[in-house]
Symmetry: C2
Subunit: 473 residues, 2 copies
């Protein structure tokens, strides 16, 4: 069946290698996680975007291990891996060949140019309509044989978009799927897939053409025995729509709604979301990215789960709760890929260990796969030293832990409580039954009850007092 609990971690930052990550999961965390999302371990794992800009997506970075290590881990844990659909690094050998040889390169069709999308040119309106994750235009000048061309670069000038509409682009994606499947990966996370298909005259973000592309990609993954998880940050109604069409989606609305409830004692937006959220979701608090704020905001005329004022107040509350640490790492302050996220550890965003423990308990009881990021699991605070060293905003929540350091942290009370909670979620039979959620807005409290026959497991969560209690049969 589906996983109940998953870890999400970088091999180099949680243990140090694939082998050490595996050992921690099997020995120290035995029985805690069904699966693990290993963040990009391809070649290189430490490029300009922490592995999300592979030069060779089909090879494991040998500094971390080999496909054999991934395959070995997959004997005891379901392995999820990223499929970076939208782009490759500018150091990708096929792209270097195009830079050198231009149209004469056999890979010329693999990469997306301006005129591949707009063969007759583009108007201001067509260009202004394109949805982008960051300011500026999504094009970069690159040498292309003896010409200079405008190459589509949705994220950074160093991340070169794949032309998924050509045979060469599709073949590239097939090769990546083959590599993942033969390495023992059973779940594929489609990274930034919302941007992959460009259709002139549209926003080129989550258009009907994008849905078709995701369908076909999911089909090709399924042929290889892998399911698909789609990563999209968007208005909550879009998330509900997307969930109907794919295997699994992230519930990115839950974490900011929990923070809103913690900082304002107002559970109304959270309660509303718990009623209408899709159930085929992976729940999270923290991830390797920032805390997605846009996910609960409005979109033009469509209101969000909270008002603009509540959203602004939430961002300020996080900055206050973290003693200003998150301010240093967010928005224009650091070289951020995405200005719509707040960079902060979740413990610090909550303002106290007690409030954090409450948020984690509600997440773990919420229907879906409970995914836990290694930094939150280990109760990490904002890493200002790492932020200072690299200047990368997200590094504030991407700390490094050796295997020894992980083992030391596991003895911490906050960490041990989470481990116990995850074991309960994995093993108690009530969680195979049905879930009932009741809210008391006046008291800012929630009850989440799981029941299967005689077996019952109940969480009562009080946001006013930042406390929770669990009772089970």
């Amino acid at each position: 069946g589906r996983d109940k609990t998953q870890l999400i971690a970088y091999a180099d930052r949680f243990g140090g290698s694939l082998a050490e990550l595996s050992q921690l999961l099997r020995d120290d965390l035995d029985g805690v996680f069904d699966g693990v999302h290993i963040l990009p371990f391809f070649t290189p794992f430490d490029g300009a975007d922490a592995g999300f800009d592979p030069a060779d997506h089909t090879q494991v970075d040998e500094r971390l291990g080999s496909w054999r290590d991934v395959k070995e881990l997959s004997r005891t844990h379901h392995v999820m891996a990223d499929m970076i659909v939208n782009h490759v690094s500018h150091t990708n050998p096929a792209f270097r060949d195009v830079v050198e040889n231009g149209e004469d390169s056999e890979y010329a069709d693999m990469f997306l140019t301006f005129s591949a999308v707009f063969p007759d040119g583009a108007s201001e309106e067509e260009l202004a309509t394109i949805y982008r994750p960051r300011p500026g235009m999504p094009f970069t000048h690159y040498r292309w044989g003896d010409k200079t061309r405008l190459v589509w670069t949705t994220f950074t000038p160093q991340q070169i978009d794949i032309n998924v509409a050509t045979g060469a682009g599709r073949q590239y994606l097939e090769n990546v799927l083959d590599a993942l499947a033969s390495g023992g990966v059973t779940q594929v996370r489609l990274d930034a897939v919302g941007y992959a298909v460009k259709t002139p005259g549209t926003s080129s973000f989550m258009t009907p053409q994008t849905y078709e592309f995701i369908d076909s990609l999911a089909e090709r993954a399924r042929e290889r025995g892998m399911s698909v998880l789609v990563e999209i940050h968007s208005h909550y109604e879009n998330q509900v729509e997307v969930a109907k069409r794919v295997d699994q989606v992230y519930d990115f609305a839950l974490p900011p709604l929990l923070l809103h409830a913690i900082h304002s004692d107002d559970i109304a937006p959270l309660t509303k979301w718990l009623e209408l959220r899709p159930l085929n979701a992976v729940t999270v608090l923290d991830t390797h990215d920032g805390i997605g704020i846009v996910d609960i905001g409005g979109d033009g005329a469509k209101p969000g789960l909270v008002t603009d004022e509540q959203l602004s107040a939430l961002v300020e509350s996080i900055h206050d709760a973290s003693d200003g640490a998150s301010r240093k790492a967010t928005g224009w302050a650091a070289s951020n890929v995405d200005i719509y996220q707040v960079n902060c550890t979740f413990v610090d965003a909550c303002g106290s260990s007690k409030a954090y423990a409450l948020a984690r308990a509600v997440q773990v009881f919420t229907p879906g796969v409970a995914q836990v990021y290694y930094a939150g699991l280990l109760g990490a605070h904002c890493d200002l030293e790492l932020l200072e060293r690299t200047g990368v905003g997200r590094d504030i929540n991407r700390p490094y832990f050796t295997a020894e350091q992980v083992r030391a942290r596991l003895r911490d009370e906050l960490v041990a409580d989470q481990v116990e909670l995850l074991r309960l979620r994995r093993t108690h039979p009530a969680f195979d039954g049905s879930c009932t959620i009741t809210a008391d807005p006046e008291a800012a409290s929630l009850a989440i009850e799981w029941r299967q026959g005689e077996d019952v497991c109940t969480l009562t969560a009080n946001f006013a007092e930042k406390s929770y209690a669990i009772s089970h049969s």
Copy 2:
């Protein structure tokens, strides 16, 4: 007649205000400078680009003084001021009105949009052909009433390009010229004018249409009793062409050629340039910008004054001579507006006070107006503290001096020697005559002789020994 010597300085960094700058010029530097280029003193003088992004180009920033101070200074010194032709700050009130009211704003035509240049859209080739001073596309998304539009931003997203083809754009430029003329300014430096005119299908940089625009702008300046100095960084042959059509140009090739001669003992490129350079030039060593390297390099198929290898070696020599200081401030290392310039004080770029004094002597003897930047005049070294504080590469060569600190520096030997040299250039009658330059490539030495009747003044400069001698009647 034309000025023989000019100072170039910021009022806030050389003295602290317009009044203190004036006092230094009249008292401590009496008889040294005919004119002064006061770097932008408009409102505000300390925006995102050190005054080159005015919100109100017609007003003196009141923290520096008033138009009365400028007018008063103009009684004893010719005053040159910048006319920022290409853009205004995004905080400009007229632009804020357009952001608020869109097409309903009376200023909507004053600013340049994508579709003002490309009403039927643009092809990849048309967009890739546009010449830019920095990477990326020269467009930024801005709200425009109830729409989002692509606004032309040649330099940074915060510098909004003026549409010089419309009545509103032309009226803006007229207003600026009026303000400068009534403030006592007699020479107008056209900043970044090479980018001001956009013509579809061309590079939009120094096209025939740009020349026409400069002609008409110079005509309007002349009507108000002001002459025009054109700032263009470009291939040396372009500089020769531009010089034929305007009052005055900068000689930006001289400084890197002097550095090449100092670091390689090779005077051949310098000698070649001295033979073909235009005589209606303003000579410089250092300026408020970086050291322009592109000015002596090749342009596509057209070879430069030095080879690519010599150019690379020169950049490395500067980095070595400055003990790596310039490397920290140049290219991708700091938030630079222009990656084709090396940021370094000229003293440090030369590697020694002796070599610097040689370079300054050759500049002052070279035909043209000898313009001296305050940092070089005061023998300043790279300001790593200021660079660290602001993160702006050019600040390494934009130090702050109070009037007291300026006076203290004037007692320094290197500074006093330059002052004496400038007095000689201003007062010796030989410099009103003709100039003969002879080179001895074997010995890496040059002789520059000025003669008028009986009056003779000769510089012999030896680049192998980094020494010079002056003899005069």
